[in-house]
């Protein structure tokens, strides 16, 4: 009798473990599969949209390649998307339907806004934001995105320089050309760095080039492009230069010679603020500005801690502590006179 009872309990427990609503293993597994299915569908839509924006026709092969799907799974995916009215596919050629296109633009918006958030507010390294945004883009609700967009100050472009779609889905394409097409002597601003192929992207980042950066082209030849970023001469191979998109910006000044980052300013040496790094954004940048570190303000490094970091600077009459990883984004030009002690 007790044996039977305990068996009954065991079975009951097992059934509960497997099928309990929401918490059981089976419902959980199903929910996870649904989430994954949704993510794959959304990634597929995104791929189709990005191809059509570039003016390239998307094919079954390009889709399978980008989503890393087997042929069998791809067929199932396409059938599912078509059944939902998201796409229309004929003879290997796939076309987005209005519903699919709207959804795709939402995903692209989520992806790019999230990348912006990661770089601006969390200071995530640029080479990591893409993969994190790939995961986050499927989980962000419309309301959260709107709030995020406002919080970030309605950014126009993601950290790679790609335009962020508006809430209504419209995308403003940016006029840009390749750095490899520029002439010597031209003043330019980097607007976009192609993130594929990845090894080139990493090489470009390692050189310290970012969207928003201002450069002057020194030499341009069929072998290489040499640019001046205000500090260094950078030599780019042609494939690298072709992956950097720029616009000409004759009115923007490249940092004048003699500018140094604030954290390297000698103590008690007055200096004039030239600018805050254009790529140093978000709350951290606003705080620096609000403290009065605006162009042409005078700043003096007065104190440093026993550890050398942070240091305290006198800005507009007040002593403000800045960590070196903040101060290195503020560019200053030392003045002649030194403070008397």
């Amino acid at each position: 009798m007790t044996g039977f009872l305990s068996l009954l309990f065991l079975l009951g427990g097992l059934i509960l473990l497997l099928f309990a609503p929401r918490l059981g293993l089976v419902p959980r597994w199903r929910a996870r599969r649904l989430r994954r299915e949704r993510a794959v569908t959304e990634d597929g839509l995104k791929h189709l949209l990005l191809y059509s924006l570039r003016g390239q026709p998307a094919t079954q092969e390009s889709l399978a390649g980008s989503l890393r799907l087997s042929a069998r799974k791809l067929v199932r995916l396409l059938a599912r998307m078509e059944a939902k009215g998201l796409i229309h596919s004929t003879a290997g050629h796939i076309e987005l339907q209005p519903d699919g296109e709207r959804r795709a633009r939402e995903i692209v918006r989520a992806h790019r806004l999230w990348e912006r958030y990661l770089t601006d507010e969390l200071r995530t390294p640029l080479e990591k934001v893409h993969s994190e945004a790939e995961r986050a883009e499927h989980t962000l609700s419309r309301e959260r995105l709107d709030a995020l967009e406002a919080h970030l100050g309605h950014p126009l472009r993601d950290p790679h320089g790609d335009p962020i779609p508006l809430a209504n889905g419209s995308i403003t394409e940016i006029q840009a050309r390749q750095l490899s097409d520029c002439f010597a002597g031209e003043k330019i601003e980097v607007v976009h760095v192609e993130d594929e192929p990845e090894f080139l992207f990493r090489e470009i980042l390692a050189l310290g080039l970012r969207p928003g950066q201002r450069l002057q082209v020194l030499e341009s030849s069929p072998e290489a492009v040499v640019v001046w970023d205000g500090e260094r001469r950078l030599r780019l191979t042609l494939p690298e230069a072709a992956n950097i998109h720029v616009r000409s910006a004759p009115d923007l000044a490249v940092r004048p010679p003699g500018t140094i980052p604030l954290d390297q300013l000698p103590e008690l040496q007055p200096a004039e603020v030239v600018e805050i790094d254009p790529e140093f954004r978000g709350l951290a940048r606003r705080r620096l500005l609000d403290l009065g570190l605006t162009p042409s303000a005078t700043v003096v490094a007065e104190l440093r801690t026993p550890f050398g970091d942070p240091r305290a600077y006198r800005v507009r009459g007040t002593l403000v502590a800045l960590r070196n990883d903040q101060a290195e984004h503020v560019w200053v030009r030392p003045k002649e006179a030194r403070v008397e002690t």
């Binding site: 508006l166 978000g282 305290a312 960590r323």
Partner: protein
Amino acid sequence: MSPQEVLDHADQLRRGLGVDFRDRMVTSLYEESRRIAARVVRRRGESSWDLDQRIDRIVTSPVWGLPLMLLLLAVVFWITIVGANYPSEWIARLLFSIERVGAALFEALGAPGWLTGLVWHGVWRSLAWVVSVMLPPMAIFFPLFTILEDLGYLPRVAFNLDWLFHKAGAHGKQALSMAMGFGCNAAGVISTRIIDSPRERLIAILTNNFVPCNGRFPTLIMLGMLFVGAAVPPALASVAAAGSVVAVVLIGAVFTFFVSWLLARTVLRGQASAFTLELPPYRRPSVLRILYTSLIDRTAFVLLRAVMISAPAGAVIWILGNIHASGASLAEHVARSLDPFGRALGLDGVILLAYIIAIPANEIVVPTMLMVYTGAGMMTEAGSLEELRRILVDAHGWSLLTAVCLMLFSLLHNPCGTTILTIWKETRSARWTALGALMPLGFAFLVTFLVASAARWLG
């Protein structure tokens, strides 16, 4: 024109302005400020290197900065501990004599024994304990702290130590909320409001508990004297005892940095952060304001919360100690069932019971333990160190291991009820409150278990 159209138009205009228009706005505001200030302010004579700057050179000096800070901190603690001794005794004597008179009065009026016990030996005694242990150190510590604050010295401490906190993903101002935590963790949690970056503030709130508050200090000091002090020659006893308390505080600091580092990299990874720290000019503190803010705002406020929470605890303790079933009090039954678990942590059932009852206020841990050990019906204090040793070591088998584990447990365990309530009020989030309460408890179990196991394994 509809509001929505205005917004759409604004969005469109913003796109034409470019990303740096916010910069230009701030810049033009500051330029205008400079222009006006130049017309309004006239400077008489040469601007000289003033006194503030000279003081700053010393207090943040690479050589003198840190020693000076430690010295000041040591002086504050010394004044607090030494200065609180006598007032604590007087208040205890006064309050306990009121208990005797009150109980006698109840008896004379013919009140039933359980009522006298519950009201006077339960609720009142618990209040008396909390007040006499808590009030004097706070009434000394908070004004001293406020003087340093009003002088403008505390921001310099945050500045000096920021590098360490930065490494752990936290904010230098956390040093101040930690220092405040020595007075009371609830006050420490509230003081994290000075940290204006959301992530760093949460870190400071969640780790404040690893600073032992003055409700936990008496336990640490008693254990230090009884076990560590007794283990060395008498001449070195007080030094060793003090050293052990300092060691516990340092372990707490190490834990704070470790947990801050852990939090910044795990649960709080997605929170925004920005560092700002102003070093304001030194100002002469105004004595009246200091006395007022520190006594009324801080001391009275903390005391009131503690009293509200410890009164019911007193009632519970009395009931547990005085309701008997099959020959033993409820407290003993509970303690017995907790015993195996307690032993695994190097403690025993009674200690765990005392900590459960003492969730509202840590001051009553030791009296509750003694109550159960001696079988008295009310919270008890040992007359002398000798008597304490007899009860704990001889009668109930405490060893050095018990003392070490208890010190660690006291340092790491969950925050008291007042602090948990404060965490909730400050974060308005059940999730952070739960984490703030349970994470330290988990650490306490883990660390004491490891220490106890290691000690047993080594013999």
